[in-house]
Amino acid sequence: MHSVEIRDLDLSFGAIEVLKGLNLNIEDGEFLVLLGSSGCGKSTLLNCIAGLLEVTDGQIFIKDRNVTWEEPSDRGIGMVFQSYALYPQMTVEGNLSFGLKNARMSKDEIAKRVGRAAEILQIKPLLKRKPAALSGGQRQRVAIGRALVRDADVFLFDEPLSNLDAKLRADLRVEIKRLHQQLKNTIIYVTHDQVEALTLADRIAVMKGGQIQQLASPTEIYNRPGNRYVADFVGSPAMNFVEGLLIEDRFEARDQVLSIRDYPFAKQPGGLATMGIRPEHVATGAAAEALSFNTDVPVEVIEPMGSDTLAWTRLADEPFRVRLDGQTSIRPGDRLKIGIDLSKASFFDAETEVRL
């Protein structure tokens, strides 16, 4: 059974098309992340699912019920917002129970649900406080609690961690994951942060220009990006790209020639192409020697980042990043031996940018 199903969804504001013919099925209990840069339509899609935006065309089903024109509160969803969106004049308890009161639920049931949510999120001592008296992390917990008390089938998270500082973000990320493992609700989670996407998701939908570029598991997205945009967007530091020509069994980029016999092409390749390889997948030193393709490159800039070091070099006249051990003693001006394992590389058509 699909938990959420989206069929041929279109949304436009006047002449501007924000979502175009979008289809998406989300399994029961799945943690789906909508990933993309700002303006890609990910939050718009979430708002459509919530019923906060009227779709232009297409249909939305939640638990096999057509909810396309239903009120947000009748859709069986709970939503968590980036800005927390806590009602400032109400206490934490008031915030948690506002929706239940609107649904005319009995006092006992409200108290039971609020108590349970407060327990799960460990915000019991905060119930009588106003949002202004809470820290950022506490506020976000209350915001999650507000979705929790609704006993919703589907939780919608709209960039819930973006307003928090780095450390708190990492802590809450783990908590959200733990919560999902405990409750097993369906979660649709919007973010522009690829680390959140990779760590949390069962599946990631990478979006751009109102369309889904790739829908796959985090490992698949990371290792086998479906097109150049996905390859470039996911991963930090970003993937290296080398433009070149595919001829028979080799890839030629300026003075460099690679044998491509080990790469599992979907179909017989040929013509202009882009090779992508992640900085952390570039082999160096002795490991490089063992590979069929290896070469010496000049080191231009070093960026030590503690746990590892990023070396900016040049391959086939294009900037090329290599991730090295944090303890390396390499310096600008040195030459670095690198090797490329084609099983870890990706090739994209130069024109369509689709994975080959």
Binding site: N47, A50, G51, L52, E71, P72, S73, D74, I77, G78, M79, F81, Q82, S83, Y84, A85, L86, Y87, P88, Q89, F98, G99, N102, A103, R146, D158
Partner: protein, 302 residues
């Protein structure tokens, strides 16, 4: 290490240390401000001292000199005995008329404009922006072109000359600025809050009363200040849409002071003028920053 003895740092900074507080620039600055302040304060001072003098002292002396003998008689006379035409019951009648106009006008205009601004900010419908644009453009149309049609409308609905007719007029002409004020304020409340309330099952009125109103106290105060001063100070609508028995205070004041009959009693006139100015002045001095915020908000309509 840098050898400090041979470096330019050893010499210390060049030129004299800038002097503070009594520099020539500061004397000029404060001097100008004080002279200008005198110009702004002068009329208030003159009104107050004049209203506390007796007529013989006014005729003999100088308008700037403080009263030799303080008398409150002019104030009493202005409030209770000053004449307009045949009525000699003082400005108190105009004062109470103004109060009777002011309170319903404020309640009605703010109720209408706040709900409307909220609808415009968060519940847009097809055409809502068009009507709003007409409303704002309309704020720039000279009142004179709408005065007579309103006379006809008020006559048709039987409110011409009635205080409630004037209340309606104030509600209509206060609408552009108040609607803009509330629309901008409600639009500045994070949209997520509105969305969260909708997910929580709250509708148009429930969100307005339960979520928006409790958060909007300051803007309501600003709107009230704006309306109190605006309506209290109005002369044009008062003179056109009411009749002598229901004249607001400004109209009655003008009639008292500028009447050509009888001997001019400047002390009574000034007491009456001060009485009329008292309500907005008290609002102004009490509200301080909010008043400034109100007129600044009013100013952004451009």
């Amino acid at each position: 290490m840098v050898d400090l003895t041979s470096s330019p740092y050893a010499e210390g900074p060049r030129g004299p240390k800038p002097r503070r507080s009594f520099s020539r620039a500061n004397i000029f600055l404060y001097g100008t401000l004080i002279v200008v302040s005198v110009y702004y304060l002068l009329p208030l001072y003159v009104m107050v001292v004049t209203s506390l003098k007796g007529m013989p002292e006014i005729r003999a002396g100088n308008i700037f000199s403080p009263p030799l003998e303080i008398t409150f008689q002019p104030w009493v006379k202005a409030w209770a005995q000053a004449c307009t035409g045949i009525n000699c019951d003082g400005l108190s009648r105009g004062f109470w008329n103004s109060v009777k106009i002011l309170i319903p006008s404020i309640v009605l205009s703010i109720a209408v404009a706040s709900v409307n601004g909220y609808a415009l900010a968060r519940w847009k419908f097809k055409g809502s922006e068009v009507f709003f644009t007409i409303l704002i453009v309309g704020a720039f149309i000279p009142y004179q072109t709408m005065l007579y049609p309103l006379v006809i409308i008020l006559r048709e609905i039987g409110l011409m000359g009635d205080l409630s007719g004037l209340v309606l007029v104030h509600t209509i002409f206060g609408m552009p600025i108040l609607t803009l004020l509330f629309r901008n304020y409600f639009a500045s409340i994070p949209e997520d809050l509105h969305k969260a309330a909708r997910v929580d099952g709250a509708g148009f009125w429930s969100i307005y009363f339960r979520i928006m109103l409790p958060m909007s106290l300051p803007i309501f105060v600003v709107a009230i200040i704006l309306q109190v001063t605006g309506i209290w100070n109005d002369f044009l609508f008062g003179v056109i849409y009411t009749k002598p028995e229901t004249y607001p205070m400004t109209v009655q004041l003008n009639n008292i002071v500028n009447s050509v009959q009888g001997v001019k009693e400047y002390n009574v006139n000034m007491a009456a003028t001060l009485l009329t100015g008292l309500v907005p002045l008290v609002i102004y001095f009490v509200s301080g920053k909010l008043f400034v915020r109100g007129i600044a908000a009013g100013a952004v309509k451009g």
